[in-house]
Subunit: 251 residues, 6 copies
């Protein structure tokens, strides 16, 4: 049994609170166990310089932790005067993952920025950010669609993410902070609603892992992500029915 | 009547949710109307270099807005690489205000950092931060006291803050964003439980104000702060009974 | 009696040397006691991005101390790589104060930048900067007027500033550095020639102050500012006669 | 057939020039096809602050591209004033990968810094950096060992890295820049001499990938890394015989 | 004849005002024609890290221009967030030049920082800074000597600097801004009281210069520096008599 | 005899490897003794803002050292977040020197950037950079000429640079690092193919130098630069025959 009484292949309780702040075009507070992330989507009618004139949109993410999201207060990056490597790595991952399920041409020359601010951190903040940011993005995109700003629906599939790892020789799903700290292998998996991989990032800094162990990690994560996507569908309601519609027309 | 139906001397609804995050020594989510600020207090057993060896503690504040706390997304200061002048001005104000009601010698060589992170901004974020940070600080200090880390109670009085202004020739209490944008005079007042001024910052950039107008602004703000302090007392419960005890022994 | 022999309500000797540097459109070296500030006004035919296309001008200030303006050498902010909170707070105050007596529409799409560089600091550098910067700005604006670049006179009133405080239980006008260091209450007041308040910033970090004390501080500062404005008029000569002319035409 | 005439599972020509610069404790110029990286190892008798007093060493990497390593000149990060996200991500990966095959306790309180400077970039600069940095590190560590500074040999296994991807529906090994630009899936694999995974980073931003495709990518990369390690052994000569010796004594 | 009526080998009028600010250990306002530089010397009882424990002192300089020292306002380096290349080049030159006439062992473990702030710039600000900073340094060192903090006199010779150039095919001494802008060759020379060169920096970006032209430039600059040193001696009074005393005892 | 067996007026062995990297418009690896610098020229069809609309081009240089170019690892300036004074001084020198032999009007509205990256440093890195950058620039310019992008040949003369110094009372040519560290006088000279001076930078921080010593330094450097230019001609081949052609038509 695990430190918090879960089965090895069991997720922590998930909660998604949509429309958490009033100004953002899409907003959701996601909590996975004690990890809480506020995900806000902003839609702007312009694209970054490198995307100009292509008739396509862009999806971008920013990630940050509040100073007391953690047990020991972490110094603000605004005070340090720069973003750390971990922050950049995570926000690049979130943006890349979300873009994989958006048809940027259908989005038009718009940028959607996903702000993922960690209110409380108990492991899995990057995977939780992806799962929550997808919902915030879907809400924002659906508003555009309802306002008839889009000719075709740009979200092509669902997307969620989970962490897995090997703790005490055992493959475990959805590590909390205590488990993460003692894991020998740590892997983050991002997957679509149709069960395809978008990102696999596995690290065995403490102990390299075998092909058999890898297979175990992938199997558990796939099942976990399916459950997360079911929860996303519930909270999205009728928005969910439009996701992925008309996909065969593109690519 | 005002834009949101309030009387000219009426506060917006106040809500204080203590223990909002689990790791901080003191934590409160304060909302004043649609303005929401998460105030977390961190206690550390050290002081900044300029305070070393004096046997005294220090109180410090940091203030930040989440990008979508505002109608138009505001760029992160961590991305800009530096704190703006407005941020610095506000966090200096919060720190100074809180220090005015703490006996730093009784605190001992400790630093309390108040992180005020604005989740949603609808006017009065700096005054709301002060009112909420006082409660977070009181919770944190009381833990120290209960752990017998302090020989005398260091908080010498209550403290709260409110904004006032002149909108359409009328003195108004607790401006929301729409009122603040059209105010000719804007003033922030910080006051103690015993009714003394800690800070008065009045600005008439749009239109200088007379002595008579100043008197009106001060009268309204004093009444508003009294009500805020009543709310602080309710949420602090028995902690409130220890604040200000043994004051005559110092200063 | 005070440390330098002054009466409680007595200003330090004021000196204003206009045209101190030859390149600036307006230039004045102001000294108030041992505090010396070089105030230079620059006129540029453009406005900051946020003001573009409004047909209005802008007034901006920058404040800095030379390293040996102070008893102990202070490190340059250019070497630190960023402006400190105190600097930003002061230069925002100076700009805001000056804008309160300028009709920005009459100024047209121009920016006037006031550089206030403290050569020697003996208390009151921010209030001295405001008093001196007003004169430098008036000289620069008058050149524009004489060159027939303006259709109406944009300076609507005089403006000066002074510090007051409570030192040894006594309200004192125009604190020098020694007094400022031991003051329990410290207040900066900016006022127009017609006796209206533009800014009041009072701080009782060391000891909150009562309403009665506040009234005493305001009375003394008002009298002091009147004297400062008399001195400004003398050095401005016939320029003074044009300030405030045609005010009724605007708002 | 591929753009440069290679088989789908064929590596580009590899060359390792040891002792390329004279001052570094370990130095190798690695070229993989047209990609050239200078890898220099520096040994210092101190550890970063977070490692102090643990009796353990540390391995760290820095990665940079010369401005004309690329077709279009890329601006120096020293001129930009900060490291980009891609750079940080890569140097964190290199350091983590190398640490996985070093027993930090055997290394003692020393830091080895691997500087990987890309002279010419034609795809695979991060995987080439890892393969080359391992050799530079081995040379530096062996000098320590020969100088009897170490009681047991700290390098526990060989380590190399390669990129794989799906280009035109085909799994390809060791992508050059042209292939990398058109790949739908891109994966970097780091593996030890004993065939265990240290890092797997697969990205399907353009098109999510199935489990079957993943299996194909892993199979090809494993074979490629085996060949790279054979080349490392040749150039390391008798140093190779000491790597991994006495491993069972630790962990 | 020159633009301002001077002979080709004639200096502009020089003025040295000692003790210009009251807090600095040595202070002089130097003006050479319309160029005005405030040179302040600060003495601190510590040395930079790289000089620690050698029983020797250090001389350091910082150079800056006020924004309206120039015809067009130049942006503050504190606002830009970094020092420009020109500033660094100049302050390194000033420091190096002054160190050449100070016996750092006799100075003891102290740092003298020379702050050279340009109030008004009309050509030759770096050479004027050196000539003025020498005087400020001499005043500060002499105070140390009078306070019996030094066992031997550390200033070993006088030092001054001047610019020369070729304007309209003619060698000219001490260029003002207009001349400097049209000069084909520009040279700064720093020389000691005993007529030896400390620095020669000649640049022919617009037109390379011959050996004959170089000889002409050096001859004129040598004569100019002799006159500057005579002026330094006058203003230093009896301090001048101690400079260079006991030189043979060192090195 | 010198530490490495050379005559006092003897250069170290020079090697110039053209076309060292494949992407740059001009590329040369230069080695002078153990000093190795990679010089790459980039041609861009635009000019910096301050040169716009003048129908002229610009030549710019950037200089950097790899961390292990030196005996002790030097920290990257990208990690420090800013360029040091020495770097800025050197790259300004390189750019200025190269511009002196280019007719910027003939170049047209183009920028040539010379990147000088020091692979290994054994003294004379700035002079070696200039000598190598000239060759890289000539290769790049000749490509433009052959592509008929230029109406007249813009390089007006050859250019090379060498260091000289006084070591043990003896004038020495082309100092290596050990000599440079013990030199009392250090001078860098840049000269054209027609024997005119472009830059002279002599420093006697340790010991001021006499006019006689200066004459000796200049004589030796002139002879050394003649030899360097002979080597440049050999490696440039027929490109050399076009340099300086049609010069009388300009200036």
């Amino acid at each position: 049994m695990r430190i918090d009484g879960r089965q090895y292949d069991q997720l922590r309780p998930l909660s998604l609170t949509p429309h958490y702040v009033k100004y953002a075009e899409g907003s959701v507070l996601i909590s996975v166990g004690e990890t809480k992330v506020l995900c806000n989507a902003t839609v702007e009618d312009r694209v970054p310089p490198f995307m100009k004139g292509q008739g396509k949109g862009w999806i971008n993410a920013e990630y940050s932790m509040l100073p007391r999201a953690t047990q020991v207060r972490n110094q603000r990056e605004s005070v340090k005067g720069k973003l750390g490597g971990r922050t950049m790595e995570i926000q690049r991952l979130i943006g890349r993952a979300l873009r994989s399920v958006v048809d940027l041409e259908r989005l038009g020359e718009r940028t959607i920025t996903l702000d993922c601010d960690v209110i409380q951190a108990d492991g899995g903040t990057r995977t939780t950010s992806i799962t929550g940011a997808f919902v915030a993005m879907a809400i924002a995109v659906d508003k555009l669609f309802k306002n008839q700003a889009l000719s075709a629906y740009p979200i092509t599939d669902f997307l969620a993410s989970v962490s897995v790892g090997i703790v005490n020789q055992q493959v475990c799903l959805d590590l909390n902070y205590a488990e993460d700290s003692s894991a020998k292998v740590d892997m983050n998996v991002v997957m679509t609603g149709s069960g395809k991989f978008v990102e696999i990032q596995g690290t065995g800094e403490e102990a390299p892992f075998s092909r058999t162990e890898l297979d175990g990690l992938l199997a558990v994560s796939e099942a976990g992500i399916r459950q997360l996507i079911e929860e996303q569908k519930k909270v999205l309601g009728d928005i969910a029915s439009r996701i992925g519609v008309g996909n065969h027309a593109t690519s």
